[in-house]
Amino acid sequence: MIAIIDYGVGNLRSVEKGFAYVGVTAKVTGDPSVIDAADAIVLPGVGAFESGMRHFEPLRKAVLGRVDAGVPLLGVCLGMQMLYEESEENGLHKGLGLVKGRITRFSNGLKVPHMGWNSLDIKKQHPLLDGIKNNSFVYFVHSYKAPAGENTVASAEYGGEFTAVVSGDRPNVVGTQFHPEKSGDTGLRMLKNFSDCIKR
């Protein structure tokens, strides 16, 4: 079972329905005992970094315990940003530190949020992207971004390159800045790929 972490507001149903559509059982939960039994974890996220981290705090131990045990973790949008060390959103706030780097705001007079379908520049192979062609389109909505770097699996371009898919320092941690559950067939394939990472 995949646990979709419920830590406040956000459209979590779509993630659950996306997994259901590809034939995988996923459950929205805020219950540490359910998380303890999960085969994989999705950290979704809509909203601001600081409030996201604050609402996540009571579940932190349960989630990180599973990650230490090698269970796959997928962070989506704000959930991906929370994997990083810190974010500049509304002051400097600490993240989970599973990925090195700092989240910063889009600048240079760009329209913000960066909203819509943008193409992926795939930098390296990753099980999450199995069968996904380079330059595939995925749906983004965000005002802050992760820098492109060594841990970037795929990047996108909006006034400069930023990270669209990141792999953590541990191989079982991965994150997407875009919403796979809103990215049509491309995104559904990624949800399926993620579920295939579960050790059987």
Binding site: V9, N11, R13, S14, K17, G18, A20, Y21, V46, G47, A48, G109, L110, K111, V112, P113, H114, M115, G116, W117, N118, S119, F137, Y139, F140, V141, H142, S143, E157, Y158, H179, E181, K182, S183, G184, D185, G187, L188
Partner: protein
Amino acid sequence: MLTKRVIPCLDVVLGEGGGCVVKGVEFVNLKNAGDPVELAKRYNEQGADELVFLDITASHEGRRTMIDVIERTADEVFIPMTVGGGIKTIEGIRSILRAGADKITVNTTAVKDPSFIKESSDIFGSQCIVTAIDCRSNTNIGDPNAVNIIKNKFGKPAWYEVVIYGGRTPTGIDAIEWAKKVEELGSGEIMLTSMDADGTKDGYDLPITKAISKAVRIPIIASGGAGNIEHMYEAFAEADADAALAASIFHFGEYTIGQAKEYLRSKGVPVRL
């Protein structure tokens, strides 16, 4: 590269027997042409970038069936969905998002109580709150409410006045100033409809679309007036819109979304194909 979005709009009305239908649909080769879920699936298959559902009955029963429509669509369609029409409360937003929508639009409620934009974007995030701005050009440029004078789509000097209740009620608010205000209050996007263009099939109102796109740094959805795909091209190329919304040209099967996007790409507009 970030692409320009093509968005079909489904005007959902309460049909006989409590079901919902989409107004003005004359699709050939589609069973249950008026069923919003069937249409949503069809447009998704054609490559729509998002879907907008407007509850044009906006009654209590209408909204309940709209929630059902969103839930059923979200089971099968995995692209962003926006819902609007008669949303007045935080709880109303919550129930629509919970059904599987990603964004909501507010219009009259926001004009009457601008703090609703701030309150709702603080709770749900800016990306969730689309302000729908309806306006009409007013050639009385001596009006004390007139702040920004531009040439309207008929080439006459005018200011654009925000209108509410489906265009029936002028408000005395300058549309460009209102756009800046809704950005400041936390709205993540603007859906702009000019009553000078809406329903004409004569093209979007390019002057006001361009002026508002320049005045704010949030995305603008051009709405109202599309009669062909050339009009969509104009909205992107001449008015700097980020997305173009259309209803009848798709509902009547004049063009598929794919055909519209092929055309846009051939003219150099970046689109997802």
